[in-house]
């Protein structure tokens, strides 16, 4: 009892300068309120957020188009010369569209190809794993919240830490080789092999993100009315049929949302892969965001205009995906109203 009053006393002591500050701020704000009226204050409350939005999100969005139509290596717009659609045509100049190496910007098409296969495989596998995990967690388990936390744990880890953890496991003296050694398999340097590295980026990103999708799917599963299952049980329906006829159709909206969300995230994959493989060996794990980053900032032949053009193309893909997501959400809402 006394400790609680002590902490609250300490809290109010710490908050005292904040309250004083707020009281001081209040004086000029009252004057503003008198001048603009109550609805004018709405603009005041909205202003800081919209200002930051405007400067750091909307403005960049607009000048990204300007960037993509200018050339040179300078970053200030005034020092850049207008080149029209040259950057785009450079991205699309290819000998044959089936072979990235025949393109002028072969790195871009390599990145597009890598990202495409990464997105397809990662999302398909991850949603499969997440769905199985969610179905298992939805069973009558002891300590369900503990198990849920187990699968959620890596979601909070920073991508850099995720990359380092797996770099450490996949290296020559790592845990994977140790495990295989127990079965008499010789150690292997996984991260110098193109195919294994590509597979590793998929596996690691699934490991890091599946908990989020499991959580959303689990929430969807738990929202399915229990009496449907009870009715099915009374009719003696087979579990496979229950899954196909009740669980899957009722989970479908959630599943769609999760797939689109996973697609949006997968297209932008960068951090953990950059730390794990750096895009290598060669260009085997070079993905779009890294291409944009390196073209814009890191390489010796940097070309911000080209990077902007590539980022706009990527943005278009993301806009389409987001619109699909919003469409699904609205359809779900309408259904709910009915």
């Amino acid at each position: 009892m006394s400790t609680t009053t002590n902490t609250s006393r300490l809290g109010s002591l710490l908050m005292a300068p904040v309250h004083l500050l707020m009281r001081i701020i209040d004086v000029p704000l009252r004057a503003v309120q008198k001048a603009t009226g109550i609805s004018g204050m709405a603009a005041f409350f909205l202003a800081p957020n919209m200002l930051i939005f405007g400067i750091f999100v909307l403005l960049p969005l607009v000048i990204n188009f300007v960037y993509s139509m200018t050339g040179g290596t300078a970053f200030f717009l005034a020092e850049r010369n207008f080149v029209g659609a040259e950057q785009y045509s450079r991205l699309f100049t290819c000998g044959s569209y089936l072979d990235p190496m025949s393109c002028q910007e072969d790195a871009f098409w390599t990145a597009v190809g890598n990202t495409f296969w990464f997105v397809i495989l990662q999302v398909a596998l991850m949603i499969g794993v997440s769905l199985i995990t969610a179905l298992i967690l939805n069973r009558d388990l002891a300590a369900r919240s503990f198990w849920r936390a187990v699968f959620f744990f890596p979601v909070l880890l920073s991508p850099v830490v995720v990359g380092l953890i797996w770099k450490w496991i996949l290296q020559r003296q790592g845990l994977l080789n140790f495990g295989l050694y127990q079965f008499g398999i010789e150690p292997y340097t996984w991260l110098t092999d193109r195919n294994w590295t590509f597979a590793a980026t998929i596996g690691v990103s699934i490991w890091a993100h599946m908990g989020l999708y499991t959580l959303i799917l689990l929430a969807g599963l738990q929202a399915i009315p229990k009496d449907l299952y009870e009715a099915a049980e009374m009719d003696g329906t087979k579990p496979e049929r229950v899954f196909r006829r009740i669980t899957l159709p009722l989970l479908a909206p959630n599943l769609l949302v999760v797939v689109v969300l996973a697609l949006i995230k997968a297209v932008q994959i960068f951090d953990e892969v950059y730390v794990l493989t750096g895009g290598g060996p060669g260009t085997s794990t070079l993905y779009l965001t890294q291409y944009i980053y390196e073209t814009g900032f890191a390489s010796a032949l940097r070309n911000p205009g080209l990077a902007a053009a590539a980022s706009i193309l990527m943005g278009l893909v993301l806009v389409v995906l987001t619109l699909v997501q919003l469409g699904i959400g609205q359809r779900g809402e309408k259904k709910g109203k009915r």
Binding site: V57, N64, Y67, L141, W168, Y293, A308
Partner: protein, 350 residues
């Protein structure tokens, strides 16, 4: 014990074992190992000496081979437990190795050399934690600087996020004004604009504002999160307007209403946003990597990635720094996991 196992192995229906029960338990235990194993392995590894890290096959726990200074030899010698031809085992120090034979001496009687087959000896090892992996980076790598930069960015960005987002959410939920739906639409639309799409122009804006190579350049673009405005607005909509009208009758100013009535009532949503914001900002990588090019400004994530990408990776330091970087997130996970999981399940946002 019986009660505990019955509780843990509780199954649906309580009938016999169904194949799905077996799959469930294999999946859960496998998941436990795959999800926690790598991080635990990393944590154990971080206490190993460089020599132990280079070993294959590696040991799980951090062991060091024991050494002893023996009279007549300059360098300390490695201790082994050797099986002698007569069947007895003795602790001996290795002098040198020739082929498969190892020349060893007894530390107590260094005069006499004993030859032992390599396969008949095992190193004497003791559990030992190389805490210098943790203490030395503070001196070698400006580690304390990175830690401070990360803490500064995380705390400042979270505070600004809470204030700015809650003000916007207040305006969007409690006032009727022209352009409200437009403002809401703009905020929702920015959900579509991830950093990877606007990094080139954003960089030019940051540098024209003179924020390149400044921690503020890392903080400012991240604070007006659409997710935050969205969560807080949804919550504020549930606060009854009568409360605000009553305060207005008592001559409270709008600022007072925001600060003394709405904000305290929004505390649960603010807490969720604060947790998210701390995790987001602590984990941010790509943007700090672009904005910060001077070593003394690196955040932990940037510093870690730069040092781990160097030619001669000093893994014993990298591992220890990784563990330190993980600590705040693990703490959040242990104590606040419940808030986060319900937050995500409720809004579908991360």
């Amino acid at each position: 014990m019986g009660v505990a196992s019955r509780f843990i192995l509780r199954r649906r229906g309580g009938k016999g074992w169904h194949w799905t029960d077996i799959v469930t338990w294999l999946w859960l235990v496998g998941g436990l190992i795959i999800m926690f194993g790598p991080a635990v392995w990393l944590a154990f590894s971080s206490f190993k000496t460089p020599a132990a890290l280079a070993e294959f096959p590696p040991s799980i726990l951090p062991y060091v081979t024991q050494q002893a200074t023996v009279q007549g030899y300059d360098k300390p010698l490695q201790l082994f437990e050797a099986k002698l031809p007569d069947g007895s085992t003795r602790v001996l120090a290795e002098v040198r190795r020739i082929g498969v034979m190892s020349q060893m001496v007894d530390p107590k009687t260094p005069g006499e050399i004993i030859k032992v087959n390599m396969n008949d000896r095992t190193p004497v090892r003791t559990l030992s934690f190389a805490t210098e992996n943790y203490t030395e980076p503070f001196v070698h790598f400006d580690f304390l600087r990175y830690l401070w930069n990360s803490v500064f960015v995380t705390v400042t960005a979270t505070l600004i996020t809470l204030i700015v987002n809650s003000m916007a959410a207040f305006a969007l939920s409690k006032y009727e004004f022209r352009g409200r739906s437009v403002a809401m639409l703009i905020i929702l639309a920015t959900l579509m604009v991830p950093l990877s799409v606007i990094m080139v122009p954003l960089y030019s804006i940051i540098s024209s504002l003179g924020l390149f190579n400044s921690l503020w350049g890392v903080i400012l673009p991240t604070v007006a999160t659409p997710t935050g405005v969205f969560i807080l607005r949804q919550y504020m909509l549930t606060i009854p307007d009568e409360l605000i009208d009553a305060a207005r009758m008592d001559k409270a100013s709008e600022w007072q209403i925001y600060w003394r009535i709405v904000l305290p009532l929004t505390a649960p949503a603010l807490a969720v946003l604060a947790i998210f914001s701390v995790v987001w900002r602590w984990n941010d990588f790509l943007w700090p990597l672009i904005v910060l090019s001077r070593r003394e400004l690196y955040t932990l994530q940037v510093g870690l990635s730069i040092y781990s990408g160097e030619l001669n990776v000093q893994w014993h330091f990298i591992l220890a720094m990784t563990v330190v970087t993980m600590i705040p997130v693990v703490l959040v996970f242990i104590f606040l996991q419940r808030f986060i999981t319900t937050g995500i399940a409720g809004t579908g946002l991360k």
